[in-house]
Symmetry: C2
DNA sequence: AAACTAGATGAGAACTATTCTCAACTAGAA
DNA sequence: TTCTAGTTGAGAATAGTTCTCATCTAGTTT
């Protein structure tokens, strides 16, 4: 279900929550609406500020919990799936990363065929490099499950 | 210069630092060596633990500063360029992100031609989704510079 | 419609990751 | 050898995120 065209329609959002097994609370609807109407890829703090306008009593902790819940339900996505702490790599040859969403392990994957070319210019945006992350489950975690 | 084949050769690493305009301190060489010999994409804490083995007096703050310096010098890369806080997106249609490395703004970019197919299986790794991030400088930041 | 209950919320404390500050130190230049 | 800009170590400070728990409420049951 694409929620965007009807972002202002509370009942649709409520239904989406319920279908995902979440209670349709005013807080959740407000957070969801804020994300649906924003183009800024906001973080928790920004969502909090935005939502406070219509729900002045909401707490920051609730925003965090709500974002987690909406993400787990697949209604919202983290632009930064790897954002739990930094990770470094000294391998300077072009390669992709296979990120295990279960254990967090990151494997290098060199496959020139899969490598997208660095696009030169996209609109007014000047590209420098491209990163590709493949999210999934690694061999070890699959064995356990 | 690819440093990996000679990761044990201190003088090569020292030269690489100097060429990048950094003093070749034992701390830097140790951090660099730790990254070059690891396949784990370690974070600052892991590097710290590793490096302590040979340089017991090194401090965590130095590891952070060193990682920043090596990254700025291009000797090392952050696997997680967007890791300064979480960002969310409710746009569930497939698209890329154009990430401005100057101001941090993230733009959506829908371009089916550029979209890589989700690979089914890579070795033992079961892929679920692919993310593509294009790093560069946005129009607004280019105007200022 | 009223009662019930699992799940959700708010507030602040707690925790973790990261950055800052600054005096002491040292690599590399002169 | 001397000099100096850049670097380090230690701990304090800050920022981001999670936890705890008493209270509340959405949705279900009666």
């Amino acid at each position: 279900m694409d929620l965007r065209p009807h972002a202002h329609d509370g009942e649709r959002l409520a239904t989406a929550c319920r279908e995902a097994g979440l209670k349709a609370t005013p807080q959740r609807l407000a957070v969801l609406k804020a994300l649906l109407t924003s183009r800024e890829h906001p973080g928790p703090e920004a969502v909090f500020r935005q939502v406070r306008g219509e729900l002045s009593s909401i707490s920051l902790a609730t925003v965090y919990k709500t974002l987690d819940a909406l993400e787990a339900a697949g209604l919202v996505e983290r632009v930064t799936p790897l954002s739990d702490g930094r990770r470094y790599d000294a391998n300077r040859t072009p390669h992709h990363h296979l990120v295990c969403t279960t254990c967090g392990r990151i494997e290098d994957h060199e496959d020139p065929a899969l490598a997208p070319p660095v696009p030169p210019q996209l609109g007014g945006f000047q590209a420098r490099s491209v990163r590709v992350e493949v999210l999934g489950v690694c061999a070890a975690c699959r064995r356990e499950a």
